[in-house]
């Protein structure tokens, strides 16, 4: 049983109004209670929760005109205008074409026939339209009614269907509410309701004047839901990339970045990818029309390495290595084009560097493949570093990424030897492959004057993003739904 003192002033007002009317609309209620509609309805809802009022809801379809519908309501439907134009006389199609646009005629001819307003027949090479007289035009009538802002009380559902299919009107659901008092509410009113002045909003005036001490501050229901607000944020993917960047920086790595456009030399040849390697074919790589310059000091040594293995006891790939092919520019297919260049520029140990950047592959776009994606890569070059240290880097890196369990399997990458495929354990998915790693081949390092082993690892971050951000479609990272950006919680890992 609700007690009188539980009611706010607004609720009391609304209840008093309800006790005098049988049932009412929100607008009517608001005006009788001298409140705005929103406040009156909030009070009515609260009264409802206390069992003092009832709110009945009824939904109806309402129709409104589309821009095309408005146009026809003003000008008349094309078929109607053509009928009027013909003024009861047979008219040829070419005559009509002089007065109406092709699009209007297209629309009109179909409807003239369908509505039985005219017949169309071919005579010689000419289509002739013969008007048959019009009884009524229910479509036009409905457009007029809607245009005049009138409610449709009675209508033929088939006509509505036709107008919807012509895209001249759109339907929307409208909910109407009716509020009435309950018996319990009536009993409460019968016992008498007193309205005292209450303060809802504290104002500077009330504070300064001390007036607030004399009034009653209304107590709020702290459980009332409030409007959701969303602050501007970093992109969730950026947050993930920043986390990885931080890990590298904490481990003492230097950040590198560089051009998207690279010569095939840095993208492939310096990494000992044979010039006839399938990965270099145009179906996998975005080639450009341009050619770039080669670093003269390295080009001849790389050529020797490809052709016969240079002077390190390698067999090389054999065949002829073409300088012109090496000059062809591409959109970098991996960030390794940047790390190898960095190492060539800094051949003295130690080097610990990382790169997080875009890479490009000529792949058809779908939920799990993108022609452009973020790749992460780290390298360590120092005297005496070993395969065991590479595994150490991987274990540490993945641990800091939150993957406690890491295991290693042999792998294959064209420019590393030994190569390794790290796998991490993910709850519910089991062991999943996450990236690749290895020690750069001597065929890669020797021509560039790098004398010590280079430990290298990398991964496409997209897969990790799908795991962490719960995405099903990689494209969503780059074609952001603003609502998702707003709502995506920042602390989910």
């Amino acid at each position: 049983m609700a007690r009188r003192k539980d009611l706010t002033t607004d609720e009391k007002r609304v209840l008093l109004v309800l006790s005098k009317v049988k049932s009412t609309s929100p607008e009517k209620l608001a005006s009788l209670a001298e409140l705005n509609v929103e406040t009156a309805m909030r009070a009515a809802f609260l009264l409802g929760q206390k069992g003092l009022s009832k709110i009945a809801e009824k939904s109806t379809e309402i129709y409104s005109l589309t821009p095309e519908g408005v146009l026809y309501a003003e000008k008349g439907l094309p078929e109607r205008r053509i009928i009027d134009f013909m003024a009861g006389k047979e008219t040829s199609l070419s005559k009509l074409r002089e007065a109406f646009s092709a699009q209007e005629i297209d629309i009109a001819l179909g409807w003239l026939r369908k509505k039985g307003w005219a017949s169309i027949e071919k005579r010689k090479d000419e289509a002739i339209i013969t008007p048959l007289g019009i009884k009524r035009d229910p479509q036009g009538e409905i457009l007029d009614l809607l245009h005049a802002g009138r409610d449709l009380r009675r209508f033929d559902p088939d006509v509505i269907k036709a107008l919807l299919s012509r895209n001249l009107i759109v339907a929307a659901e409208k909910t109407t509410r009716t509020i009435s008092i309950t018996d319990e509410g009536r009993r409460l009113v019968a016992r008498g309701i007193e309205i005292v002045d209450e303060i809802a909003q504290l104002t500077p005036d009330l504070i300064r004047s001390g007036e607030w001490r004399k009034k009653r501050l209304r107590a709020y229901d702290v459980n009332i839901p409030v409007l959701k607000v969303f602050g501007a944020k970093k992109h969730p993917y950026r947050r993930l990339l920043d986390q990885m960047r931080k890990i590298f920086l904490e481990m003492g790595f230097e950040e590198i970045r560089g051009d998207i456009v690279q010569t095939s030399f840095w993208n492939f040849d310096a990494l000992f990818q044979p010039q006839d390697h399938p990965a270099r074919e145009m179906q996998d790589t975005f080639y450009l029309d341009s050619k770039g310059d080669l670093p003269g000091n390295f080009a001849q040594k790389v050529k020797a390495m490809h052709e016969h293995g240079g002077d390190i006891g390698s067999t090389g790939w054999g065949g002829k290595w073409s300088l012109e092919l090496a000059r062809t520019e591409v959109l970098r297919t991996h960030t390794t084009a940047l790390t190898i260049k960095h190492l060539a520029d800094n051949p003295d140990p130690p080097v610990k560097a990382f790169c997080i950047g875009r890479a490009y592959r000529r792949e058809a776009i779908d939920a799990t493949h993108l022609p452009e994606f973020v790749q992460l890569e780290g390298v360590v070059m120092d005297e005496g570093v070993s395969f065991k240290n590479l595994l150490g880097c991987l274990a540490e890196f993945y641990k800091r990424m939150g993957f406690e369990a890491v295991r290693f399997r042999p792998g294959y990458f064209p420019y590393t030897e030994p190569s390794v495929e790290p796998e991490v354990y993910v709850e519910e998915l089991g062991w999943i492959e996450l990236g690749g790693a290895g020690i750069f081949r001597r065929e890669v390092t020797a021509p560039l004057g790098i004398r010590h082993p280079v430990l290298a690892w990398g991964l496409g971050v997209g897969r990790l993003a799908m795991l962490r951000l719960g995405l099903k479609d990689l494209r969503d990272l780059y074609r952001s739904d603003i609502d998702w950006l707003w709502r995506c919680p920042t602390c989910q890992w």
């Binding site: 950026r238 003492g252 006839d276 274990a395």
Partner: protein, 535 residues
Amino acid sequence: MPMVTLRYEDLKKLIGADKDVILDRMPMIGADVERIGAEHADVEFFPDRPDLFSIEGVARAMRGFLEIETGLPRYDVLESNVSITIKKSVRPIRPHLACAVVRGLSLCSDSIESLMSLQENLHWGVGRDRKKVSIGVHDLSRINPPFTYLATDPSFEFIPLDFDRPVSMRKMLEIHPKGIKFAHLLEGSKRYPLIVDSAGNVLSFPPIINCELTRVTDATRDLFIEVTGTDISVAVALNIVATALAERGGKIESVEMVSDGAVRRMPNLSPTTRALQVDEVNSLLGLDLSAEEIARNLEKMRLGATIHADKLTVEVPAYRADILHAWDLIEDVAIGYGYDRFKPEFPETATIGRTHPIEDKFALLRELMIGLGFSEVMTFTLTNEKVHFDNMKRRRVKVTRVKHPISMDHTMVRSSILPNLMEILSLNRHRELPQRIFEVGDVILDGKNEQRLAGVFIHSTASFAEIKSIAESVLRDLGTEFTIEEADDPAFLEGRRASIIVDGRSIGVLGEIHPDVILSFGLDHPIVAFELDIS
């Protein structure tokens, strides 16, 4: 990557171990077990190990890895009386040839299927889809040596595999499924390669199709194998096929190859040798193995190893295509040792972490923009001229275009970020307003990266003054001295657009987006925007 089907029954027979043990250890030799079925497993092997593209090759490797049979596999090669002559006419088209005979096989439908799939995997992995290497396998009893490899006129006719009537070679390229698929390999050739026997019977039309006559069936006992191609990798492909068949119990015999008067015999299965230093192994792997331990691990990987104090002589079997350098052997030592036995150790290399100044600037700009209420978006740098120029009312200029776009959406790399932001607004046209978004990132101008910041703001009363105060706020925070001038960027409304001038040069633009641009992105609310060069 090539997928190999491993039937458990076969696997057990060829290896002599339990299938669960085999499948459990297989990934540790370098394989992805894709599917474990009731009768067989599907396993992917790496492209550098074509010798593992058949169940026979896998069994040979796993017998070593499980220490059932270790060390270099030895295959006897007897001399056959089969010879083949390579005519000069074929040299400009497909000059390389390698042949062998394998006798005494008893094939069943499974082993024929395995042989066919090995051929297909080699065509892919070594042959660059038959361009570099293509393999033909023939029932030797149906043909009469000596054979001839020559080039002939495309009008020549024979009955190709799966046909019942003779067809000209030219026609085969038009109507036979294999002909259609591989016709491009003979583009420009006036004559086509052909292998025939002494009676004029056709064996094959490399690299397209075999003759129906020599089809291999379960009645076939003796095989003739020919590998044609454009370089010397024909030899290793032949060795892989011949030794795989020897693993099935076949006896390998050599073929006399006659070319321009010179005579030699193939296959040559003698191993190549390489020296390996104990120190180099231990220093690269971070282990402390003795020469004996290294030798044992190499033998597990089916290599031969002889110890000479602190170094080893390693024998590499003739079917291995991947050993270019000593480090390739060291990887085999590591695999033999077991990747799962290594104790990972973070390197002691002491260095100081350092950020890149451009990334630092990006981070600062993100902080500023978020403070101004803009949400960050990340977009593709790949775009197309329609979105980048036409929709923006901007004139098409020279940009970084890709040569063979894969879709009309991605034909070029952006030179401005603003069009990408307009696209994001377009995608979000049904979402609540106002929307404020920004991106900071790379664009390409003259083939070089440059950095840009762009922001857009859409709502029903968006105004020039609003975006000017936002852009000025960013510039103030960057400590940039600037002036504002009227601009002429057609993406913006005349009289409501401005250039940001620093040191007499325009570094950006701001203003109210032109209604034509708004409409071209399917939007209908006022938009204000700015873009700054922050390079």
